[in-house]
């Protein structure tokens, strides 16, 4: 995370106002401004402090189990080659296996960085929002490790559909507060976390789970998640002697995606795909495709693409995956979308469910429903690519938390 980007690089953002192009910024109530500036100063000091970074790296290695492997998916590759129906088509598929991290997803990478920062700032109380519960579990875990008080806001709908993670958080000593406003999903949880922070600025750190929120959160969470892309780069060079042709990752807020993409943004030969949750279909009202179907606005402290009606009221998103069920997206993605560096596509609930099952049977890996959206795009893309092509999916999390949801959709009783 200390590499200096090139002068005309796409990796220089944000600017001093926390903006990626016109996106980002810091749109919060005055009460929060001082503490957010405090976070920014603390983060700028920490990221240049070798002792801070060494402690974070140590945790990633010995506690999280990094580096996560880069796995060549031979059976999935064969499947796509067969599906292509052409002898010269079907790229090699690799998984960056973030699901093997302690707590089962990429979220822990940024959580550990942020919790170390909170400790440094002397904030003993940690709050977080969570959708799928993965960020909540990661935050609860880090708080257990460091003996900090942890409160997790989770939409009531998500409390229900991600029950295993709710119990995990409780076991880890966190308090889970169900949020009933709105549709009771991630957006509403984030509202309530912000409200808590406003009332408790003196002793509380808000550990945001994705590359959204007021500056410096989008940058900070990205910087911590870049460990994914940096490792991937080394690993693919070691395995294949060259960079991949394509990267794919699902985008909710977009932290797993920014982490994989960012270290490759300046590599022109690498095509990059972000996959939004298309829910019941991008042309129905029920999806979470902020970039493909939203327009710019301001929510949760940043200017970005949002699902909103003509009056500027934020609309509820829909996805089978709680972690993608969010009407916004990190501001850096909005910028990458507008400049065209990253292509944002959609995968429906149904496509994700199919990919979920295929992955389980062909690779022996049960993916998170979020990651299954990314895989759905890989299954579309790989058969169209040349046989000597290389495509890498960020397998951002494991699917244990999703088995009840999937069973329900498949009509099975557990």
């Amino acid at each position: 995370m200390n590499q200096q980007p090139l002068p005309n690089s796409l990796r220089q953002g944000p600017d001093l106002r926390g903006r990626f192009g016109e996106f980002g910024g810091r749109y919060v109530a005055e009460t929060l401004m001082p503490v957010i500036q405090e976070v920014e100063q603390a983060y700028n000091a920490a990221r240049n402090d070798p002792a801070f970074l060494a402690e974070w790296r140590r945790l990633l290695k010995d506690y999280v189990g990094r580096p996560s492997p880069l796995w060549l998916c031979e059976r999935l590759t064969e499947h796509c080659r067969a599906a292509s129906g052409q002898p010269d088509k079907g790229a090699k598929i690799y998984f960056k296996r973030e699901e093997l991290n302690h707590t089962g997803a990429h979220k822990i990478n940024a959580v550990l960085g942020q919790i170390l920062l909170a400790k440094r700032m002397g904030k003993p109380r940690i709050i977080a929002e969570t959708g799928a519960g993965q960020h909540g579990v990661a935050t609860a875990t880090a708080c257990a490790l460091f003996g900090l008080k942890c409160i997790v806001y989770m939409g009531a709908t998500d409390v229900e559909r991600q029950a295993p993670n709710v119990f995990r958080m409780k076991l880890l000593g966190a308090e889970v507060r169900p949020v009933t406003s709105g549709a009771g999903t991630l957006k509403d949880a984030m509202n309530d976390a912000m409200r808590d922070w406003v009332a408790n600025v003196a002793d509380t750190y808000y550990c945001i789970g994705t590359v959204a929120g007021p500056a410096p959160f989008p940058q900070m969470v990205r910087d911590f998640q870049c460990v994914i892309g940096e490792e991937t780069r080394e690993q693919i060079l070691a395995a294949e002697g060259r960079l991949p042709d394509a990267l794919v990752c699902a985008v909710g807020g977009g932290s797993s995606a920014m982490g994989l993409f960012h270290p490759f943004l300046d590599d022109e030969g690498v095509a990059i795909y972000g996959v939004e949750a298309a829910g019941r279909g991008m042309d129905t009202p029920e999806h979470a495709a902020s970039l493909n179907r939203g327009r710019p606005g301001v929510l949760h402290g940043n200017r970005t693409y949002l699902l909103q009606n003509g009056d500027g009221q934020i609309q509820e998103a829909h996805s089978i995956s709680a972690g993608l069920d969010y009407p916004g997206i990190g501001p850096e993605h909005s910028w990458l979308h507008e400049i065209g560096r990253v292509t944002y596509v959609g995968a429906t609930d149904g496509e994700a469910l199919d990919a979920f099952q295929l992955c389980s049977r062909l690779e022996g890996i049960i993916p998170a429903l979020e990651s299954a959206h990314g895989l759905a795009q890989v299954l579309k893309l790989a058969p169209t690519m040349d046989r000597d092509g290389i495509i890498i999916l960020n397998l951002s999390g494991r699917g244990d938390k999703d088995i009840f949801t999937v069973a329900k959709h498949l009509g099975e009783q557990l």
Binding site: A29, E30, T31, G182, V201, A202, G297, G310, I314
Partner: protein, 294 residues
């Protein structure tokens, strides 16, 4: 002043653009030796007709300035009371355009009571900043409070608002320190809104002592009138706030009364209007009884 008919080009509507209602009102109150009562109600809560009747009734009940809340789906600085008010308002069809139309209607009968719109940035962005500022001024809006627009991000709205003669009223919080105050106050006009507690609306109240310390500190940095809001609920609290500062904003306490007066299906009952306005009267009596010691 009677409405001119020089509306925005092509609109053919009455235009109530008039500068300085806020300053005039505070000057008048200063001469009377008392502070202002500033009730806040959410536009379209619980329905357009009741909301309009409330707005029209406020000056008669003793409101010196009026804050009209613009409903937003995600009111991040608000507690449950105003969240629910916004949900009721949105369900009843509330919007920024609707709030502007209410003010325009209000102005047909009242050209003096200042009206400030309070809300969040996204509906304004969605409306279009320039057309919003033009329409707001013409509708007879006097000032804007945009909760999630700190001074660092304010230029895009502050400049067109100033051109239209709209006061952009900034929030100062207990967390705003001396070093930051000048930045927050720069470019503020109309009055200063002091957020009495570090928290959301409708939760805690500040102590009298905390306010007695905070307001003089703020006065050292500004000559503008100061209104206190967040946690001002009772007539006594309103009187104290109007005494230590220049005005008291009461929101959640009034909206709680409104909410309690609704039927099981969330509809206004015949007594809704009277109960809310009676409470405003009680607050106004207390504020008027509390003379400002020179």
């Amino acid at each position: 002043m009677s409405p001119s008919d020089s509306g925005p080009p092509g609109s053919g509507r009455d235009c109530f653009d008039r500068r300085g209602r806020i300053a005039a009102r505070f000057a008048q109150l200063k001469a009377e030796g008392r502070g202002a009562l500033m009730p806040y109600l959410e536009a379209y809560d619980p329905d357009p007709a009741t909301s309009m009747a409330l707005l029209r009734g406020l000056p008669g009940a003793g409101a010196d300035l009026i804050e009209l809340g613009v409903p937003f789906s995600d009111p991040m600085a608000d507690g449950p009371t105003i969240q629910l008010a916004a949900q009721r308002a949105l369900k009843a069809g509330g919007s920024l355009a609707g709030a502007l139309a209410m003010v325009r209607d209000f102005r047909r009968a009242d050209d003096d009571t200042p009206v400030v719109l309070m809300g969040y940035l996204n509906p304004i962005l969605s409306y279009g900043i320039d057309s919003f500022c033009t329409e707001a001024a013409c509708s007879g809006v006097d000032g804007l409070i945009v909760v999630d627009l700190p001074p660092e991000e304010a230029d895009e709205l502050a400049i067109p608002a100033r051109e239209q003669g709209l006061d952009l009223i900034r929030l100062v919080a207990p967390t705003t320190d001396e070093a930051r105050l000048p930045k927050v106050l720069e470019g503020t006009s109309g009055f200063i809104y002091y957020v009495a507690i570090a928290g959301i609306t409708g939760t805690r109240s500040a102590t009298r002592d905390a306010l007695a310390e905070a307001i003089p500190r703020l006065r050292r940095h500004t000559d503008l009138p100061i209104a206190i809001g967040f946690g001002v609920r009772s007539p006594q609290q309103a009187a104290e706030a109007a005494q230590v500062a220049d005005g008291a904003v009461v929101a959640s306490a009034l909206i709680d009364t409104l909410a309690q007066s609704l039927d099981e299906r969330g509809r206004a009952r015949p007594e809704t209007l009277r109960r809310v306005l009676d409470q405003v009267r009680g607050l106004a009596d207390a504020v008027r009884g509390a003379r400002v010691s020179a």
